[in-house]
Amino acid sequence: MSTAPLVRLLNITKTFPGVRALQNVSFDLFPGEVHVLLGENGAGKSTLMKVLAGAYMPDSGEIEIKGQKVRINSPAHAQQLGISTIYQEFNLVPYLNVAQNIYLGRYPRRKPPLGFMVDHQAMQDKSRQVLGSLNMDVDPTSIVADLGVAQQQMVEVAKALSIDAQVLIMDEPTATLTDREIDKLFAMIRRLRERGMGIVYISHRLNEVHEVGDRVTVLRDGQLVDTRSIRDLTIDQMVQMMVGREISDLFPRTYQCPGEEALRVENLTSARNGIKGIDLTVRRGEIVGLAGLVGSGRTELVRAIFGADPIDCGEVFVFGKRVTGSSPTQLVEQGVGLLPEDRKLTGLALKLSVAENIVMASLRRLFPRSVVDLNKERNVVDKYIRDLRIATPSQKRLTQFLSGGTQQKVVMAKWLATESRLLIFDEPTRGIDVGAKAEIHDFMDQLVAQGAAVLMVSSDLPEVLGMSDRVYVMHEGQVVGEFCREEARAERVIACAMGQAQAAPSVVSGSSASPGVAAAQPGQEA
């Protein structure tokens, strides 16, 4: 690339009270390039991008935009400089329409004397143009709250284009998208790249990196590790750069003979949640994976098992005891724990401390006389912080300040404290960095080795294949396949999840099974 860089960050340092978030980090971005930014949670990726987006001022270092030295002192200023950011939490206003969102903060006005009024017509026309140029058929007058996640993301992209952004920062854009939507997003990224836009792409999903990126910069503990061309690197090398040590095995499993039955589900059906005639079993000492596309009914199934949603018919047995129709409270008493998909919303009380979160579900068990013994609490919490290697400065730290991986460990500790023997994990490592992921996997393995049973919902196929003794595959609310560890291969599971192989895994032909081909699938998941 011979052209001048769009962006050059030189020796950026940024400290927060007690934390050195960035130390002498340099970064550059050329037109027509997708530059991937990798690093574990807390490595400084977000901080670096917030410096570029005008949300943080660096303590020292220089920023050059198209060769001009600048100080970016607000998000609005960054926008004027042509830098647009799509955060994981969208900057969209749910009850305004698409056009009103695209032009938020810079509404076109009508001609004087009506200059105080917003020119809705012009705004909608221009929005339609921008959306059209992205091949997006979204009506500018639809209310954003009525759109799906993927469409909302497209609105964010349109917003970036409408301010003539030349630099687009995307923070984990694929975290909440289905495979089909991801393909679309990548196609769009390629189009933007052809227009000469520079894109900074932050992601945890290493397998996406080769598909979408040109160069990669890896950060670790606030420091620059290296910037390299992606073609020269394998995924393993990238992982090694991120963690600074070799992770010998992301999926540590010590397989053993499964024991007695921990969970049996018979013909479970819930029409309103779209699940039909589910049969499955989980035995002690087993990790059972539940694979399928987003929207195939996996979360709905585990919620129904856990008694969180009503069911129409079918039976659920836990450790041989019939629990059909029981409430979550009763299931917890039977030793069942659910680690929900959205840990920030339903897994944790973010405003409470690590200690309070850990004992929350087991107060009754720990303190049967309804008086909290603080000494005992401290000891119990201490034990889990040590066992799970929870990275927290103290028991009193509020969980909202912890990284995603650490938060997930707190949720795990909470259920371990209840002495649950059947644990249901819904997306246990989504949005969690590689190091913490390996630790969580390691811990899951220890759990089943000690005789617990685990049912794991995951959209991360390598995780399902690497961790499970057996895999059930769901498609449109039904279990359409069951594979033992030896039979479970990526292409088979994917084909099955896409409804291309009914029930019998042995008849799957290899030809129909490349991960990207979701085109045959009518978009049932909404």
Partner: protein
């Protein structure tokens, strides 16, 4: 073209705001139960006049709630606005100027709460609770805790005159206030920022919106509307009482919520608020017309409020297919 945005197929009855059903049922019931005394044009005008003060006040409450805030000082602001206007008139100030001063007192209170909330980052609940005490206290001090009276012609006309000998002035004032707020809310950047503050304050800030300023402006506007409501109320009574506005902020909040505005995410709008105000006014009026004794009225009104809100919640869940 998989990107096509398919709006949910809604039946016509899903488009009707839930509160309208409740209102319709109540109107029909009163019409029957009152044997014709309720369903007359003069009684409807009556209801509209009775509802107009509350509507002006509720417009402000709705805007504040759309920003995910709350204003507990509106009742006190209403009291103070009337007191300021009437007292100035008793001191010989021209009625128009005195009334403007009453309105200005509302804007002033709103500016203070706005400052405390937007710049001082106090929670709206606390800041407006404080202002509620301040406003009510100031009204008591200014009037020495007794009612004050004034009846210059212009003032009386403002409260009980008829425009072109036809339309009662309170209705005209409420309609103008509605028109102005409608224009602001749906046709100016300020209005859009009100929705944005409630919907995604952080996101709006990152999109370059000066969120603190527009939040201040929202409370400023609500205070001003409170002042207008206070002057209007005093003009109807030819008097200002130091406790007249007691609990009015709750009526304003109730009208907003019944009208379908949510405390979260900037959802709702002022059209629903008109229906919410009408519901309250219709029930109060209807209970009188069919001769329910006043001791029971508060109780019945409370029940109607709860039923209306439950109905709203249930209908919304239904419409969203949850």
């Amino acid at each position: 073209m998989e990107q096509t945005c398919k709006p949910l197929q809604k039946k016509w009855y899903d488009r009707v705001p839930p509160v309208l059903w409740v209102l319709g049922i109540i109107v029909v019931w009163f019409a029957i139960a009152s044997r014709g005394h309720f369903f007359t044009i003069s009684n409807f005008l009556n209801i509209a006049v009775q509802g107009s003060v509350l509507l002006v006040l509720s417009l402000g409450a709705t805007c504040v709630i759309l920003t995910e805030g709350i204003d507990l000082s509106l009742g006190s602001i209403l009291t103070l606005g009337g007191v300021v206007a009437v007292l100035l008139m008793t001191r010989g100030v021209t009625p128009v100027l005195a009334m403007l001063a009453g309105v200005a007192s509302g804007f002033f209170c709103g500016a203070i709460t706005g400052l405390l909330i937007a710049r001082g980052r106090l929670p709206p609940f606390i800041a407006t609770l404080g202002m509620s005490g301040l406003g009510a206290g100031a009204a008591v001090v200014l009037t020495k805790a007794s009612s004050v009276y004034a009846d210059p012609a212009a003032f009386v006309f403002f409260g009980s005159g008829r425009l072109f000998g036809l339309l009662p002035m309170p209705i005209v004032v409420a309609a103008l206030a509605f028109g102005a707020v409608y224009l602001i809310l749906y046709h100016t950047p300020f209005g859009h920022y009100i929705f944005a503050l409630g919907g995604n304050e952080v996101g709006a800030g990152l999109s370059g919106v000066n969120t603190a300023w527009w939040k201040l402006m929202t409370y400023f506007m609500a205070g001003g509307l409170g002042g207008v409501a206070g002057v209007l109320m005093a003009a109807r009574l030819h008097a200002a009482e130091p406790t007249i506005g007691l609990r009015w902020e709750f009526d304003a909040i109730a009208a907003t919520i019944i009208g379908g505005t949510s405390f979260e995410k900037g959802r709702g709008g002022i059209k629903g608020t008109v229906l919410g105000v009408l519901l309250l006014a219709v029930v109060r009026n209807g209970l009188n017309v069919i001769g329910i004794r006043p001791v029971y009225q508060a109780l019945i009104l409370g029940i109607v409020l709860i039923v209306a809100i439950i109905f709203d919640v249930v209908m919304k869940r239904r419409q969203e297919g949850l």
